[in-house]
Amino acid sequence: MKQRLVIIGAGMASGRVIEHLVEDAPDAFDITLFNAEPRGNYNRIMLSPVLSGEKTYEEIVTHDDAWYAAHSVTCRFGEKVISIDRQMKVVEGENGLVPYDKLIFGTGSNPFIIPLPGHDLEGVIAYRDLEDTQRMMEMGAGNKVVVIGGGLLGLEAAAGMAARGADVTVVHIMGHLMERQLDEAAGYLLKKSLEAKGITIRLQANSKEIVGQDGKVRALVLDDGTELPCDLLVMAVGIRPNVAVAQDAGLAVGKGIHVDDQLCTSDADIFAVGECVEHQGAIFGLVAPLYDQAKVLAKNLLGEEAAFVQKTLSTKLKVTGCDLFSAGDFTDGEGREDIVFRDPSRGVYKRLVIENDRLIGAVMYGDTADGSWFFGLIKDGTDIVDMRDTLIFGPAYQGGDHADPLSAVAALPPEAEICGCNGICKSTITGAIAGGATDLGAIRASTKASASCGTCTGLVEQLLQVTLGDDFVMPTSQPICGCCDLTHEDVRRLIKSQQLKSQEAVWQELGWKTRNGCHVCRPAINFYLLADWPIEYKDDPQSRFVNERKHANIQKDGTFSVVPRMWGGITNPKELRAIADAADKYNVPTVKVTGGQRIDLLGVKGEDLPYIWADLNNAGLVSGHAYSKGLRTVKTCVGTDHCRFGTQDSTGLGIKLEKVLWGAWTPHKVKLAVSGCPRNCAEATCKDVGVICVDSGYQVGVAGAAGMDVKETERLADVATEQEAIDLTVAFIQLYRENAKYLDRPYKWVAKVGLDWVKERVVDDLAERARLIAAFELSQSIYRKDPWAEHAQKAERYQPLADLTLEAAE
């Protein structure tokens, strides 16, 4: 006798189960198929090509009415299942009861809708079924769409609608796209390709509410207040297994319906398959494991032994022109090693993760041709020790000779282009070498090769090496650190010329050899980016040394020092009382007057910092930035106010300068002074910028030093008015911010570029001076603020994560 098999849900997994059953044992079961959607099984993962217009719905139908009829499947489509009576073994549908011998749940999953205010407005949809797809297909030129969620589904939805001409913005809460499948480097490249398709991507964006008009969606509001207008809002933030009916029936349910290796639920006659399942803590959203489950379940129903085993998965994004591939496990871990390959000019990134001489994960972007080969190595657990050297180049390079970069250069034909910017070929360079150009500088001067963007510098050096042999000594210009081959100056130039606006962009485009830099390069790159792109780039505290991250100076015992700003060295009884009170309240062991005319509270505990700042803020005191690579102090003398020798208001000028400059980040610390007469009581002649007031105006000197080196300032210019003195100072500081190497004080930088070069830009070229001042002001619109006031609000960040001293004692 045929057994009665009832299946709830006509999806891809349950459809595959039916296929196996009717193929292997067409007479074993009487099948009844319930589906809440008024249609049978179609290929859901092909909805994206339907959306973009590359396929039609008809093309993605897996089982049509004729197929169900031919295999005698009783279809109850458009009918919801209300309940299951496990005692009686009966399924209750909206249109009546159906008894079963075996029951399969294929109820799939529901899209997760974030319960934002306004989520129930008309025009807010998920991306799950054909109806959603049809809504999205209505969007075209002139329509604005917001997609929440930068995962696989969200991006396919965004790309599909963008292809139809809609103006699409993707809002993603994480720091890079598809963070579950991609690492940050591949995520960066994906973002770049999608942006090239006209899609706006907003990362680290938190949605706050959906606002509507007449019951229809009008815009999405982010928590920073940004309003993104839209005609349609698509939420693609994840799925939740649909367990409602199973739960009501009393089956064991966690995130999904619990099943064992045979896909059997807690009831021996009830099975579950597909996205509604939870197996060993995992739930499933990709199609490959669902098909595996279907196969195992069909075998078990037919009395054969089979067990479902979770396997390594691979992912591809179905967006034309975004070539990415990810497989296996590519998180870091103990004993895991990376092989990373980047080809910036082609936008290629490949990363292989190796553990115990086996490939366990791969992420690729731009060139995924070898993806399936790598996936095979992962699945088979192949020992890769013998091909490790050339593994990343793919199957074509296995078994060949070990590549020597020099022999590769030597083998280049004479007409091979070396410098793309200037169109210089190999023979031109070797000709120049033969003509006596025996170092990089000479090659640049005589041929222009590597003199523009500089990315071919390595090649030119290799050519010198090949041609000159031992006569060539590699130049001493040092790369920033072991993470890259470029000098600070090269990186600064490339950040500007290639418009690199994020750390990921720098790492990728400039061929970083590590995942996310190190303590040497990260602070430098962070500074270069915020100096060159103050609006676009957001300062990264985690790429800063402790002092700048904590806005206080760490001392040798791990406590901190706190130095409030005293503008121009001027204070008053109220501020002094507040400082004294704070010193009492927080048991500050040492109070010291600094060389920069202010007061240092030494020995403050890290967790007290936000509270002492709040107290000081209340008295009007702000951060003195005594910890920063930025403006420290403007030392002054009392000038004309009190001094019988004073020629100008040196204190007033000092305060004005400090008010203009404070908060700005610079390559290294910057100290200023203004003396009211040539007696120079403020010691202005050994500062980074020092102004000496004279009867006729102001002598502005720069590039002094009084630290490791002692050096007198050099005269930048003499000016008649206070405003000019301020303008020159600001322009000089901005030129320093734009050009100096990180951790070069101004005197070191000026020694490299020459004072004349500085004068040309700051003093002589008035247009350039104005540009520098405007650029500085733009940056200050972001950074001229008190970090203490901001951090005092985040006091919890300064406390221990948790206190286990009591727990451990138990």
């Binding site: 998180t331 004993g335 996310n516 190190c518 985690q542 760490i554 221990p800 994560l801 286990l804 451990a808």
Partner: protein
């Protein structure tokens, strides 16, 4: 093993660290760029620098005082004959758990 919940993953900044007070002294809990979590002694063996204030890069931490670099997997200092104690932590969902039995065993020892 007895796992103790010590906080949410987002309580630690990405590529950052927080301090955890225990009977063994302070432990630094680190979060890497890829959301892995590590725990190790918060005290640099060189001059006692608080490692929780250092820069996290890859799976390493650089001490804020004199730039000693430690591998967070093993606690080994790079290029120095020194090591810091590491502790077992794991992330479950979005919670960070530390192995309490491990802590108790070491404080008893």
């Amino acid at each position: 093993m007895s796992w103790i919940d010590i906080g949410h993953i987002d309580d630690i900044p990405l590529r950052g660290a927080r301090k955890l007070k225990t009977a063994l002294g302070c432990i630094a809990v680190f979060r890497t760029n890829t959301d892995e979590v590590f725990a190790a002694a918060d005290r640099c063996p060189h001059k006692g620098g608080p490692l929780s204030e250092g820069i996290v890069h890859g799976q390493s931490i650089t001490c804020p005082l004199h730039n000693w670099v430690f591998d967070l997997n093993t606690g080994q200092a790079k290029g120095e004959d020194a090591q810091i104690a590491t502790y077992t932590v794991r992330v479950e969902g979005e919670r960070i758990l530390i192995d309490g039995a491990d802590l108790a065993a070491r404080s008893a020892a």
